[in-house]
Amino acid sequence: MKSPRQSAAGRARAAVDRAGRLRQPAPPRRLAGLWRFLAVLGPGIIVANAGNDAGGIFTYSNTGARYGTSLLWAFIPILICLVLTQEMVARLGTVTGKGLMDLIRERFGVRWTLFAAVVVIVANGGTTIAEFAGVAGGLGLLGVGRPIAVIGAAVLIGIVVLRGNRRVVERIFLALGLTFVSYIITALTVHPDWGAIGTAAVVPSLAHPGVSTGAFAVDLIALVGTSITPYMQLFLQSSIVDKGSRVQDLSLVRADVVTGSIFAVVVAAFIVITTAATLNPGGLAGIGVSSPQQAAQALEPLAGIHAEQLFALGLVGASLLAAAVLPLSTAFVVCEAFGAERSVQSSFADAPLFFTLFIGLLVVGAGVMLFPGVSIAGIAIGTQTLDGILLPVLLIFILVLANDKRLLGERRNGPVHNAIGIALAGTLILLTGVLVVATVFPGLAG
């Protein structure tokens, strides 16, 4: 027996038919699958991708243009160090369920935390400046004036982060950043001398004709500093904590980190190979990248007259993503370490430190690019050197934490881990020393 049902008024949005039932089935959600895939992308892969930001693109392009393929060998030790550093951080995050700054506060107390916070703010502030340089450079190639590009980007980020749906925007930027895979395709189309590249990748060379030792140290530190950034470590540990990975999943977490690191370093190496082949075909000319136009030329064999647009699109996407994430995550981890109120939903009066840091980093990041005559490539590469100089500080904190028996128990570092970690920190400190000596006494080393 069918019961009579109420019939609904046709004007209502909730149109119920004579049987009293809605006759509007949900539309098929084809996009949902893609979003879900992106949502479960491992933190390791996302973080590695975030490493190929404005600073990375310019630094790698500069390396290829200035040194040809002769510095390719550096990517092997960089990969080893990147994997090991990220693994330590991922392990700390998985086992303790706490962020890196949290652990520093709990293990080392207020004074060291203040020191670490200053280092993180300076390093991330520098990187934020580099991202705005990327935004200015990318939009500049598309014909947008620098003040409009920079102020517009800062306002957009402010609104998106404080008001809008950040997740969706983040993914759009991330997808744009993926256009840098086009470097791999370009490298394959220009047919470089693969034999010579293979040799360069495994035979270490410190030759730097036409470049002073000081400048060489700067470039080398920048190369390491942009591949293994302080903020990648903070970001990786936070996302692992947020994801709630379990100790049982540690091998999966490691696989994710290794995959991400390999992907990042392969893309980086291909940027160097491509720029070496296109911008420095005659061998060691010793001239670096000084403008976005120049860097974009590397994609000409692939994209022809659209090389600048392709380069610009990727650069803007990657830079905007990082420029939004950096100030926010920096403000967040610093506030967390000091127990200060932190939430984009609070008012300024409730979370003064949080908003001061977030807005301050945005303003500084955007502000530097507003000074007339500031070189986009110079800023993007210089800040990576700063990252490289500050990385050992964070690395030492990570090493001590990863050796803490109370924190990690049986999962603390083994001797190989420590040896490589100390070697990386030592190398960077040594290079910084060379840089300082070469800057103070320019005549000392040709």
Binding site: K2, A26, T96, G97, K98, D242, L328, G339
Partner: protein, 416 residues
Amino acid sequence: MIFLSDFLRADVIDVGQRRVGSVRDLLVRMGDPYPVVVALALRSSRKLPDVIDWGAVRQGESNELALNVATTALKEYQATKDVIWLARDVLDKQIVDTDGRRVVRVNDLQLQVSAGNLLLVGVDVGARGLLRRLGAEGLGKRVSRLTGRNIPQRLISWDAVDPVHSDEESVKLRISHRKLAKMHPADIAEIVEQLGGRDRDAIFQSLDDEIAADTLEESSDEVQAQIIARLDDDRAADILEAMAPDEAADILGDLPEERRETIIAAMEAEEAEDVEELLSYEEDTAGGLMTTEFVAVPAGLTAEQTIDKLRELEPDAESIYYVYVVDDDEHLLGVLSLRDLIVAKPLTLITDFMIERVVAVPLDARPEDVAAVMAKYNFLAVPVVDDDDRMQGIVTIDDAMDTVMPAAVRRRARTL
């Protein structure tokens, strides 16, 4: 006021006024209402015990502690399980402020002498505590005098906090979060969201299944997934069983397939079946939104019999307002409100006063449309039927609300 930071690094001198070392930490025995300092951890270059009884210390200045026994007579303090190290286990850690209902970080600890004992009485969570730790409290005072703005002292009484204290060993000890467990689940959820993984584990281990389930229901989707991800299968299954099936299905739906299956396998057969049925519907439809917990009765009953049936079933708050009348094949015949049932004469047949024109939604209806129907007819719950008009479940107002609230309001801040 005396603070732990005053003691840390203070010199320890022996009976002959010679410096023998400095203070590394103070140890307290947990007690009600205030923990008592029972021992002193020593940092010394000499061959002295690491931890000595507080009884060997003469009470006095906090910047210099004098021993009242010869150093040769000092013995290693034997700590019991209820003794914790203040600097190592509490200072700089996160702690739950049960009055303020939030998570704070311990910047310093306030001590007080009472009847010959040194007691832990309060937690400093303010900027003054940070400045004191940096050795810059004087500077802070000068700045505040200059600017005319006072840097507030933010102290929380020890009896209003619940230490999270999540070292591997103490998690095993299962510190009882008695104060926490008495809070409203929505408040516990908010606190849990602010804590890291291991701290969350510690809290969830101490809560019973019912409270844990309520807390989980009040948490945001992301946090739910994170919490379940870190629990072992059996415990996760226990908590999910205590939840409403639709909530449990939502959480399980967000887990990786493999993990979802092992948890469902660990659940009781009946609950597992409900959850699996709900999981088979698309998330963004009435089927995905509904719960299978509703009251359905056969047509032949009287009002009195129906009320008896309600007593027997003990339905949840969300599902008690409507009683659905169905035939043997679960076809929907009518609906009774709780009010109709109570005001009706006990012996009246329910078919005499039930509303026969039941508004229902199909399994594949969009959530927005379900919410619109409920808003239009002022329903607290709306039945969901399949293509043959058989009743499958109900969508309750709280779940429908979630779909129409602006997404930004629901989304939590923490997405780094």
